[in-house]
């Protein structure tokens, strides 16, 4: 999958999966923090998002440490998903 397309899919997943009424997926910036600032998401949103990403992209977020890095931004999340794909070079 094209990396830009992956990032757009993630933005749609965020908005639709978390029911972020009034947020346009295109308005989410690639490098902006996903949690706390910006979108005002909290720890319960994080739980929801982890499960949504795991289901849709067949990846595993094994613990909080990995999760914090992977969910730092849309860029970081796209990187993480690409790296987790079978055959990906680490």
């Amino acid at each position: 999958m094209d990396r830009n397309e992956l990032k757009m899919q993630l933005k749609h997943l965020l908005v639709e999966g978390l029911k972020l009424d009034g947020v346009r997926p295109e308005s989410i910036r690639d490098a902006e923090p996903i949690f706390v600032e910006g979108l005002g998401l909290d720890s319960i949103d994080a739980l929801e998002l982890v499960v949504l990403v795991e289901e849709k992209f067949h990846v595993v977020i094994p613990d909080e440490e990995v999760g914090k890095l992977a969910f730092a931004s849309i860029d970081a999340l796209a990187d993480y998903i690409v790296r987790q794909q079978p055959g990906a070079r680490v």
């Binding site: 029911k19 972020l20 009424d21 998401l41 319960i44 949103d45 739980l47 929801e48």
Partner: protein, 409 residues
């Protein structure tokens, strides 16, 4: 013994948002029962409900919370915010923490279904293979969700408790809150009840054939069941001296409460009404009040054939010949039966009656039942000077609670 007073109140129900709207609705004897719009009720015996219209998250609620709070949470949050503001505790405990001696604010809440409506929606979408609802809906299933939310939003660092004794839940919550003040376990208690309409209660009461097809008619000869409602009423209780020192308004005094259990049946009350009577006797005893001193009774008055005749019988036993001169009314004829919130909503109706010098009416009562022959204040409210009032709340499983309130001096 420490005297416990109500120093703040907040309200939301089908008659409107805010204590003033509830007071106006009661005084104007407005029935707020309409056709249910929250979910499809076509398959039920009745489509009547006392629903809160245009319920939306208030602007002061953080965005992450506004996205996931349930109807039950919202009702409680809105009423609690008003109660704390009217008690002069704006911002609740969080502003109090900064003071020289922070106030120990407890939260005690009566509730029966919590986030059931959100959980139902989650399951419905899954069963019908619709796009899924966020899983966070399932986090709202435990009844404790709302009381935890209230404590964190309003910065209440004292003890917290959720009381679930069916339809007497919030009457008990007020009583337990008063106990906390008397025992010194809390300086102030944010207490009351909240319950939103949901399919489970609608289906349950429907299956029990306990829903009237038309707006409920307590004490009427033709009554055929209750009407479900939703809402919340929240109070701030504190010791009289503390409220006085703070310069807080004193809305009424909480004199005492009495509790009993029927130990009889899963839904039906005891046919001899002994449990209902015992709760009232205990409430009077705990309050140091004689039966003759009661000026008004806010009845449980659901409009089911059995409740109203048994409650009448218990009142006659309690009051003896005086029963015929003590007005009794059911405010459920205006706001429906709000289950876990009913006791608190009706306590607030009593406070408003005491403060406004009027008797709320049983607005849908038109044809008296020969077996219900007391003064039920039919159709319209009326002016009256009242000082001491009693409110009954009876719940499934034989949970009986009566509370006694007195006008502020």
């Amino acid at each position: 013994m420490r005297r416990v007073v109500i120093s703040g109140a907040g309200s939301i129900n089908a008659l409107g948002k805010g204590v003033a709207a509830f007071a106006a609705g009661l005084r104007d004897s407005r029935c707020a029962i309409r056709t249910l719009s929250l979910f499809d009720s076509a398959a039920y015996r009745s489509t009547c409900a006392a629903e809160v219209e245009s319920l939306a998250p208030p602007t002061w609620l953080p965005a992450a919370l506004a996205r996931r709070v349930t109807r039950t949470d919202l009702l409680a949050l809105i009423a609690a915010h008003e109660a704390l503001e009217s008690a002069g505790l704006r911002g609740g405990g969080s502003s109090l923490q900064g003071e020289a001696s922070p106030m120990m604010l407890a939260v005690v809440l009566g509730a029966t279904t919590g986030g059931m409506h959100a959980s139902e929606e989650f399951v419905r979408r899954r069963v019908l293979a619709l796009p899924p609802a966020p899983r966070r809906a399932l986090l709202t299933t435990p009844l404790s969700t709302t009381v935890d939310l209230l404590a964190s939003v309003f910065g209440a660092a004292g003890p917290r408790l959720v009381v679930s004794t069916a339809c007497s839940s919030s009457a008990n919550a007020l009583g337990i809150a008063a106990d906390m003040i008397r025992s010194g376990r809390a300086d102030a208690v944010l207490c009351g009840g909240t319950d939103a309409l949901c399919r489970m209660t609608f289906s349950g009461f429907n299956a029990l054939q306990a829903l009237d097809k038309v707006p409920c008619r307590p004490f009427d000869r033709r009554r055929a069941g209750l009407t479900l409602g939703e809402g919340a009423a929240m109070f701030v209780l504190e010791e009289e001296a503390a409220a006085h020192d703070r310069g807080a308004p004193i809305l009424a005094e909480f004199l005492g409460y009495g509790v009993s259990a029927d130990a009889h049946h899963i839904t039906q009350p005891r046919p001899d009404a002994a449990g209902a009577l015992l709760a009232m006797q205990r409430a009077l005893g705990a309050s140091g009040v004689s039966a003759e001193e009661i000026d008004y009774v806010n009845a449980h008055g659901t409009g089911t054939p059995m409740n109203d005749v048994l409650e009448t019988r218990a009142l006659k036993t309690l009051f003896g010949p005086c029963a015929y001169r003590i007005p009794v009314s059911s405010t459920k004829s205006m706001v429906g039966h709000c289950l876990g919130a009913a006791g608190a909503i009706e306590a607030l109706a009593c406070v408003l009656a005491l403060r406004g010098d009027f008797l709320p009416a049983t607005v849908t009562l038109e044809e008296p039942d020969p077996e219900c022959d007391l003064d039920y204040v039919p159709r319209t409210s009326r002016p009256a000077r009242i000082r001491t009032v009693l409110s009954n709340s009876y719940g499934f499983g034989g949970n009986n609670t009566a509370i006694v309130l007195r006008a502020a001096e």
